[in-house]
């Protein structure tokens, strides 16, 4: 139960932080239609994080709310992987971050639907449909930008070069994840990884992009060792809850 709580929180943090990053685009997108699309994905992810936080709060059983969990924990207590907290950069960086995440998210939710933990399975079932849309959106943009102009190819390849080092953490299982996988509550990530590699490889090939070789994979976010970017994100995300604790809004 404590393990499921930890894991639920990790998933919640992941969706929230990525949703928050996407929400920073709102009003600043390159194309109105994509402003809408990114807001949509952000809404899905924030919605997913709310369900997860609510479930985590329920598992914890100490009367904390979704907002307590989201707003009253410091950066080192957040459990999201490093990838999702990376700054938006340009549209290409955002698309690449999304693409690397979406595949993982999609294959994970697909399996999680069958978890014996009913809470996780239910949330996964709901979010899986949304994730299917995300994975399509980001793959299309990877192809469009990779196989677009010379400039767009250069930019999206650079985004890949910069972000690839954060992809490994998604599949590097923490002790919590290992224990849950052994107990059959969550899938073993090696299976997800091979599906993801096939998906990613296919899209990159169509996009004429090259995966950088011999990259040292960064990790740490899932155990609370984040980049310095997360702290700034949290000053905004948590500001009002911190300034006026315990109020209804």
């Amino acid at each position: 139960r404590a393990l499921v709580y930890d894991y639920t929180l990790q998933l919640a943090d992941t969706s929230l932080i990525l949703g928050h990053r996407l929400s920073e685009w709102c009003g600043h997108g390159p194309i109105l239609e994509q402003d809408l699309a990114m807001a949509n994905i952000a809404l899905d992810l924030i919605g997913e994080s709310r369900s997860l936080y609510q479930y985590a709060a329920e598992l914890e059983g100490q009367g904390r709310t979704e907002d307590d969990l989201a707003s009253l924990r410091d950066a080192v207590e957040y459990k999201n992987p490093l990838l999702v907290e990376q700054p938006n950069g340009d549209f290409g960086d955002t698309v690449m971050r999304q693409f690397l995440f979406d595949g993982f998210h999609f294959f994970l939710l697909k399996e999680l639907q069958n978890s014996p933990d009913k809470g996780l399975a239910g949330i996964a079932a709901k979010s899986f449909k949304e994730a299917s849309y995300h994975v399509k959106w980001s793959a299309e943009w990877i192809i469009r930008l990779g196989d677009g102009t010379e400039e767009s190819r250069r930019r999206i390849q650079k985004a890949l070069d910069n972000l690839w080092m954060f992809s490994g953490e998604l599949y590097t299982m923490t002790d919590t994840e290992k224990a849950l996988a052994q107990a059959g509550f969550i899938p073993d990530y090696s299976g997800l990884l091979s599906q993801w590699e096939a998906h990613v490889g296919k899209v990159f090939a169509e996009a004429t992009l090259e995966v950088p070789q011999n990259v040292f994979m960064q990790k740490g976010g899932k155990t609370g060792r984040h980049s310095e970017h997360l702290g700034y994100l949290l000053t905004e995300l948590q500001y009002l809850q911190r300034a006026y604790p315990g109020l209804e809004w």
Partner: protein, 319 residues
């Protein structure tokens, strides 16, 4: 010959207007009617797009996840409204790119209300409640406007706006029923937004040059002053219900006219903001221009890719 045809076209147009039959894109219409509509619809579209910014300013700082989602969803709706409205304007023969260029150059206007900053979370409530309230009052009559595509876009816009207005009122409710700091935040925001909202109905009728023709063509259905009066009459009781004080010492119920008397808007401020001197005019346009310019490579890539793909498909079919 030509004048005769034109005259009969004009008569047909006037007849439709008189009979409240919608004008559609393929119908003949007077050049001035077309121009007025393009100006008004594109201004309306621009207002939706620029209007994303003051509210978007609080998305990352919303006080709860629920409020964050609601606000993001609202701002997203505004982007959607912008889309319908640009499409409606495009039926009149102006491209979206052209309209955006006019916005960025300052040739086209947008609602001045979005040149005021959002300084606290309560501003999000105040905008939803007051600004969307005023927008609805301006826009509901547009559902009956004579140009078909515009009227139809407004049906959806108004439906969503009234939903947004309820959400804004709800935020104000939470604040006014909350801690003293929240109530204070609400009153302070109300003080800042009340007068600019009254300005949203435009100059006084006596100083509104376009009103008469627009009314005649049934683009517009009520005068500025009429709408402003209705708005005050509607909002004052709501403010009272919230326990907020209207920042107008001249506000008084007038039994005779069955409405409120109220103080005069600061028209100097109004014209200043219209002329580009509002607190955020420069920031708003700079932000939009920056987003557009920084997105140029993405639009070019999307176009290039679509062309490549089309060429490939054509080549495949030729085989």
């Amino acid at each position: 010959m030509e004048t005769i045809i034109e005259k009969s076209l004009e008569e047909a147009f006037e007849e439709k207007i008189a009979k409240e039959i919608r004008i559609e894109p393929k119908d003949w219409m007077p050049e001035q009617y077309r121009k007025t509509l393009v100006r008004q619809i594109s201004q309306h579209a621009h207002s939706e797009i620029v209007g994303m910014l003051p509210e978007g300013n609080w998305i990352t700082r919303a006080p709860s996840l629920k409020r964050k989602a609601i606000l993001l969803s609202k701002v997203q709706d505004e982007a959607g409204h912008g889309l319908y409205l640009y499409s409606a304007a495009e039926t009149l023969g102006t491209s979206r790119d052209q309209m955006i260029a006019d916005l960025h150059s300052g040739k086209a206007k947008y609602s001045s209300i979005f040149n005021y900053p959002t300084l606290s979370w309560a501003d999000i409530g105040a905008i939803g409640w007051l600004v969307d309230g005023a927008a609805i009052m301006n826009q509901v009559p547009l559902i009956r406007t004579s140009y078909g595509p515009y009227a139809r876009a407004m049906v959806r816009v108004c439906k969503e706006e009234s939903f947004h207005q309820r959400q804004g009122f709800e935020i104000m409710m939470s604040l006014c029923n909350g801690a003293p700091a929240q109530k204070k935040m609400a009153q302070e925001a109300f003080n800042r937004w009340w007068w600019p909202t009254l300005m949203m109905f435009g100059p006084k009728d006596a100083e509104s040059p376009n009103t008469e023709q627009s009314m005649r063509w049934k683009i517009k259905r009520f005068t500025n002053d009429e709408l402003r009066q209705r708005f005050v009459d509607m909002m004052v009781p709501q403010a009272e219900f919230l326990g907020l004080t209207v920042p107008d010492k001249d506000l008084k119920w007038n039994e005779a006219k069955n409405g409120y008397d109220f103080g005069d808007v600061d028209w100097e401020e109004f014209w200043n903001v219209v002329k580009g001197n509002g607190p955020c005019n420069k920031d708003r346009i700079n932000t939009r221009v920056k987003a557009y310019e920084e997105g140029a490579w993405v639009r070019e890539a999307a176009l290039a890719h679509a062309q490549k793909r089309a060429a490939r498909e054509a080549a495949n079919q030729a085989k």
